[in-house]
């Protein structure tokens, strides 16, 4: 009886500790978002989004940074998505499961954990200097693509692994080739997981600052990029720049830009969740 009561007590204690920890995390998030909203919400209007940067805080807008982020996002997607998914398919379906494959797997997982500034240095050396792309949208996108490639590969592999092998067997047994099985069965079945992984990786890319600063993205660009070789800024760099200014008006601007950036990542994560649920339903 005594023992039972002890176990009960432990159970209760752990439950309340768990609730406490959850609430701490949530409260901090709410305080942070509330603070940002109070500082920046009133600053957001159409002009804030469409104005070019200026020396005067009340005339400054995020147009160039927002467009820079969108350009970067677009090119990062078209570079990292096909490469990462193809590599994931290769590693999961084509490569033999031997020691070399095991080594590759460990290294890709490790790459996912390399600090982003290291990728920035790599991008600076390879894309900006050796390939002579300059501090362009293309160089920035390539750098961020390298950064999220391991995440996309790992997500693709996990999604493909989750496809029941019975489905593959059935396809092969009907005379389908490997590629037909991948195209007609494996990709449709794992598409939700792959897309979710890719979108989450991109939402990380959109918030990255360090590697782009190293590559040479500018804090002040007078115009939005018009082609991939143009110079650019992105939202996080714009925020970083405004926060370091002494005038109070720029702090407000930074808060407002943070709201826009948060909104973008929330929307992207929302899309990821939507795809995941939609695919799961199809498989029930």
């Amino acid at each position: 009886m005594n023992n039972l009561r002890k176990n009960r007590l432990k159970d209760q204690l752990f439950k309340y500790w768990g609730i406490f920890c959850t609430i701490i995390g949530l409260v901090l998030l709410v305080v942070f978002i509330g603070d940002i909203l109070i500082d920046g919400l009133l600053r957001i209007d159409w002009e804030f989004i469409t104005n070019l940067p200026s020396r005067k805080p009340e005339k400054s807008g995020i147009y160039t940074a927002l467009m820079g982020s969108i350009w970067i996002l677009f090119f990062t997607t078209i570079i990292a998505f096909p490469m990462g998914v193809a590599a994931g398919i290769y590693l999961e379906e084509y490569s033999k499961k031997n020691k070399l494959a095991g080594l590759l797997e460990i290294n890709i997982s490790n790459l996912a954990g390399v600090p982003s500034i290291i990728y920035g240095l790599l991008g600076l050396e390879v894309f900006v200097r050796i390939m002579n792309l300059g501090a362009s949208v293309l160089a920035g996108s390539l750098t961020l693509s390298l950064l999220i490639l391991p995440i996309v590969i790992v997500a693709t592999r996990e999604a493909i692994k989750a496809v029941p092998s019975s489905i593959k067997d059935a396809s092969y047994a009907l005379g389908a080739s490997k590629w037909q099985t991948i195209w007609h069965q494996i990709l449709p079945a794992s598409g939700g997981g792959i897309l979710t992984g890719v979108i989450l990786a991109l939402s990380r890319a959109v918030g990255e600052t360090a590697p782009l600063i190293v590559v040479g993205a500018l804090a002040y660009v007078p115009f939005a990029p018009e082609n991939p070789m143009d110079e650019f800024s992105v939202l996080p760099i714009q925020i970083f720049n405004w926060i370091s200014r002494p005038q109070h008006g720029f702090i407000e601007n930074a808060a407002a830009a943070i709201i826009i950036l948060l909104l973008i990542t929330f929307i992207m994560n929302g899309i990821a969740v939507y795809f995941r649920n939609k695919w799961q339903k199809k498989w029930k």
Binding site: K96, A173, K178
Partner: protein
């Protein structure tokens, strides 16, 4: 794929084994599958230790034996499904309609159109009933809508499923009951019009009524197809098969007419197994 699998073949064949002599001579008349000296390894583990066997056209052959005895591995040799196991290695010869299916130039996809397979757990694709049955045809590049419609209907009728699903062909295959799903998988296999159907414990996940339906189906299909079925159910083997092969730890212990195996087995081991004394 096929090229990556290390296969050792075309070894000189030993003199006929004792088994051939006990096999009913009628087997020799219309051989569909002829296996000589087959040995299989997964890495260092030898799963099949040298088996010869002849399977007759339009017959039902049952493979029985305790779990891990190699009967499923042996079955999967006939449509080369073991090729996907990285460590798989095989020696010996398997001829279907007189052609060695483990020759380098053999097109595995073509082989599998000739040798269909039904699996242990019903595994319909997460697609509509129609698309499930049409899949095998579509991957062959067949686009003729009318032809596909006819084949799908024919296959579903052969699998005794047509009347139950004809009004819901667009419904997901996963929405069917377990027994219906397995018949859908059989229909999917039939649509490609193979001449051999391999069944790997096709009723082990089904209730008795669904099982009876599948057994009835096998009885019907025998007229047109050569069927090889792995089963753990002795009664099933004795009910539906013409020939029965008893496997034990990678070896073929006894292979004969089902009637003989179940009434007057030659080996003590076989008798012990079918009477339930071990296994």
């Amino acid at each position: 794929m096929a090229e990556e699998v290390e296969i050792i073949m075309e070894k000189p064949i030993k003199e006929p084994t004792i088994l051939d002599s006990v096999i009913d001579p009628s087997l020799k008349k219309k051989p569909k599958i002829e296996v000589t000296g087959s040995k299989v390894w997964y890495g260092d583990f030898q799963a099949i230790k040298g088996i010869d066997m002849t399977i007759k056209t339009n017959s039902v052959t049952a493979f029985i034996g305790p779990s891990g005895c190699g009967k499923s591995t042996f079955l999967r040799l006939f449509n080369r499904m073991n090729d996907y196991v990285d460590t798989f290695r095989m020696e010996g010869k398997i001829k279907i309609d007189g052609k060695n299916i483990y020759k380098k130039k053999v097109n595995v996809e073509e082989l599998r159109k000739e040798v269909g397979m039904v699996f242990q757990k019903p595994n319909p694709f997460p697609k509509s009933i129609f698309d499930n049955v049409a899949y095998g045809l579509k991957i062959q590049g067949i686009k003729d809508k009318k032809f596909i419609d006819e084949r799908v209907e024919k296959a579903l009728r052969q699998a005794d499923l047509w009347d139950e699903v004809k009004d819901n062909l667009k419904k997901s295959g996963l929405a069917l009951s377990g027994g219906q799903q397995q018949r859908l998988c059989i229909a999917r296999t039939l649509a490609v019009e193979p001449s051999i159907i391999l069944m790997d414990e096709p009723t082990s996940a089904l209730d008795p009524i669904s099982t009876a339906k599948i057994e009835q189906l096998i009885f019907e299909l025998k007229k047109k197809y050569t069927i090889v079925i792995v089963t753990h159910n002795m009664q099933q083997a004795s009910r539906i098969s013409d020939y029965t092969a008893f496997f034990y730890i990678g070896e073929l212990i006894e292979f004969n007419k089902t009637k003989t195996i179940f009434t007057n087995p030659e080996k003590k081991q076989t008798e012990n197994y079918i009477t339930g004394r071990f296994g």
